[in-house]
């Protein structure tokens, strides 16, 4: 897959007050139609006016699949949303889950089969289509698979696919790398104001 990184945009130090952290540049997955040669395409766009849309130069994103088909990719995204339901995380993040599992399926026939079988079983348990089933039914289907190899593989992958990326950092307010900003020594490491400051014996002033 070819990912076209979006232009880096760093957060402003002014943003480092109590209410907002500095937010990092975004690195949206983006694939151009003309490069496509894979088995499927997942695409969408960031909601207009959302925090992420304001950080990214373009709201469109796309992920090309090499082994899984579009329906399987979309079902994995829906499964990711049941496992880790974050309203504020855009579909683009859940598409990373599909992308990473697609890569694993491409590398191992066993994994491809595990995923294909598990996804078929999910659809079956949810009464035909996991994606269009009711919320309740989706949750029941996932619960019924807890502890299976398929469940463990997808859940384990979520931990890094969903949470170790710039979009998630921005949504959860985690600024990531601090070194290039000079750390927090002058950027709010002790700016919490809703509790009294500890006395100097307990917490001496910083050295400048």
């Amino acid at each position: 897959m070819r990912i076209i990184p979006l232009v880096a945009k760093t957060g402003s130090p002014e943003g480092c007050d109590d209410d907002s952290g500095v937010v990092r540049k975004l690195d949206l997955p983006l694939t151009r139609r003309e490069f496509l040669s894979g088995s499927g395409l997942l695409f969408g766009s960031l909601a207009a006016g959302s925090l992420l849309a304001s950080l990214a130069p373009s709201a469109a994103w796309a992920v090309e699949l090499k082994t899984l088909d579009e329906a399987q990719g979309a079902t994995l995204m829906a499964l990711g949303r049941v496992l880790y339901p974050h309203q504020k995380l855009p579909d683009a993040v859940y598409a990373l889950l599909a992308k990473d599992l697609d890569a694993k399926a491409g590398a191992s026939g066993d994994t491809a089969k595990l995923l294909a079988d598990g996804l078929a079983w999910l659809d079956h348990t949810a009464g035909g289509s996991f994606r269009t089933a009711s919320r309740k039914r989706r949750l029941e289907a996932v619960k019924s698979m807890e502890g299976t190899a398929f469940f463990n593989a997808v859940r384990g992958q979520c931990v890094t696919s969903l949470y170790d990326n710039d979009m998630a950092f921005a949504v959860f307010g985690y600024p990531g790398s601090a070194w290039e900003h000079g750390g927090y020594i002058t950027r709010g490491f002790q700016d919490l104001k809703w509790l009294a400051a500890p006395p100097a014996e307990a917490s001496p002033p910083p050295f400048f």
Binding site: Y174, W179, A202
Partner: protein, 522 residues
């Protein structure tokens, strides 16, 4: 930097360059003793460290295969990763948080003070606090520990403010920004802490003490010290007289090498150290080197641990600034009325989003898990660390079914929590939650132990030969020129983070080795 010949049998070989090995190697080199330090990992630097949790983890962590067994939750959550330690020059002092506390007087006499504890293999140290005090003072000076040697404490971050507020409202008295081997002001050629918040990822400002950029370059400057990186020791050899004569290692090109030695000191951290002794079994030492007591690998301790995270209505941004930003010491004493022996510390801790997802509740999913992640900016966190009971059955053994990249049996780490550990953990969880409730938490969460960061006890010190592996100098009872120079020596764990004591013992051991060498005793 010096280079020594493979056949030079006058050198001291030090295995590992972390807290124990790095310190010992430098101390010996300063005294004019020739040292070859063999380190399995590669050399990084502050410039190369990465402010990114997973990338840094792959850069620094020890990821060779290991297996687990026992009833501890780690065996289920992280079956292949019993310990969170490093394979890199500087060892785990690249990852460590810097908390530097002395053991308490009574902790050296755990068996006497706690009495017989069923299911525990408690023993008094062959050492007292009074004997160690002058050495502790040297270690604190070397490491630049705050609140010692006139060095001011670090400024507390937001995470500390929450801890301080809750703890003092609860009536705790000893609450401050800790004794940390992190520069609060420039010292020893290193700058002051920039409050980066990536202490676990290698300190990019060099404010935090690590043997990587303190002991090792100082040792190299003496001309008596050679560091070989990517050198993974697989065997310690001995002669007919039963003295160790050298080591075999796989070098950075994957080639096997043999380095002769007058003395061998093992400081590979408490899993690799006993593993290496066991791997060095021979027809003369069928159960492994220095194992006539049968105690090599046993009494593995990992400290009672756990974490408490709490969500607040208002933002905290706990990730800003030092990871371990402050401490509550009031529970550190031995007070059996609480229902357990020994004590514990409560220390702030913070994880970034990637590690939070992995460690908050391993295996967890669903709306509740998502709720905690959604509240990330409004969380405060603390780590609980206390004394756990040594048990003969908690042990590092060779798993002959599974082989590492060099074809050697991997270590298996077996651990069952002692009822005392469980009782202490529950007490600590409750107190941690009460602290945050007193500060106004809307919800609190009990996070189970992370893979072990404090690994101790697998070659313990004892006055009697049958009770342990080494004497009070870390010299093995069985083989006079074989030393253990890391946390494996600990007879019992104490409540305190162990590294200051490891460094203290290494400084003292260097002194002993130098004396023994000049007296031609070894």
């Amino acid at each position: 930097m010096a280079t020594f010949d493979y056949s030079d049998d006058s050198v001291v070989v030090v295995i590992g360059s972390g807290a124990g090995g790095g310190t010992l190697g430098n101390e010996l080199a300063q005294k004019g003793i020739k040292v070859v330090c063999l380190e399995a990992g590669k050399r990084q630097s502050s410039a190369l460290f990465i402010n990114d949790e997973w990338k840094s983890f792959s850069q620094l962590a020890w990821l060779d295969r290991r297996t687990t067994s026992g009833t501890w939750r780690i065996a289920k959550d992280f079956a292949g990763l019993p310990a969170w330690i490093c394979k890199t020059v500087g060892g785990t002092t690249t990852h460590w948080a810097g908390a530097s506390l002395r053991l308490q007087e009574h902790e050296f006499r755990a068996r006497t003070v706690y009495g017989e504890v069923a299911g525990a293999n408690l023993l008094d140290w062959p050492l007292t606090l009074a004997e160690l005090e002058p050495w502790y003072a040297k270690a604190e000076d070397k490491m630049g520990v705050t609140r010692t040697n006139g060095i001011p404490g670090l400024p507390g971050n937001n995470n500390f403010k929450v801890l301080y507020s809750g703890a003092t409202r609860l009536g705790y008295k000893e609450v401050h920004t800790g004794r940390m081997a992190i520069n609060s002001q420039p010292r020893d050629g290193r700058g002051r802490c920039m409050q980066l918040g990536f202490c676990f990822q290698g300190c990019k400002s060099g404010a935090k003490w690590s043997t990587l950029y303190t002991e090792i370059p100082k040792a190299e400057a003496t001309g008596n010290f050679e560091l070989r990186t990517g050198a993974h020791v697989t065997r310690i050899e001995h002669n007919d007289a039963g003295k160790v004569s050298g080591v075999v290692y796989v070098d950075q090109d994957g080639k096997e090498q043999r380095q002769k030695a007058r003395i061998v000191c093992v400081a590979g951290n408490s899993i690799e150290t006993p593993r290496l002794l066991l791997l060095s079994e021979s027809s003369k030492f069928r159960d492994g080197l220095a194992n006539s007591s049968g105690q090599v690998g046993r009494n593995y301790m990992r400290h009672m641990t756990g974490s408490v995270y709490a969500a607040f209505r208002q933002p905290v941004h706990m990730y800003r600034g030092t990871t371990m930003a402050g401490i509550v010491r009031d529970e550190a004493g031995h007070n059996p009325q609480r229902g357990f022996a020994g004590g514990y510390e409560l220390e702030t801790l913070s994880l970034g989003i990637p590690f939070m997802a992995a460690f908050l509740n391993p295996g967890g999913w669903g709306e509740d898990f998502a709720w905690w992640m959604d509240h990330y900016t409004h969380l405060a966190g603390m780590w609980l660390v206390g004394e756990d009971m040594p048990r003969a059955t908690n042990c590092v053994t060779l798993n002959r079914e599974v082989k590492d990249q060099w074809g050697n049996p991997v270590p298996n780490v077996h651990f069952d929590d002692h009822p005392n550990d469980v009782a202490m953990r529950n007490h600590a969880f409750t107190q941690g939650e009460r602290i945050y409730q007193a500060a106004g938490a809307i919800r609190t969460f009990r996070t189970p132990p992370y893979p072990s960061t404090h690994n101790l006890g697998t070659c313990r010190m004892s006055s009697r030969e049958g009770d342990g592996v080494v004497n009070k100098w870390g010299q093995t009872h069985d083989i006079g020129n074989l030393f253990i120079s890391d946390g494996s020596q600990f007879t019992s764990g104490g409540a305190e983070n162990p590294t200051l004591t490891i460094v203290t013992l290494a400084i003292r051991q260097a002194d002993y080795i130098a004396r023994q060498m000049s007296e031609h005793a070894i």
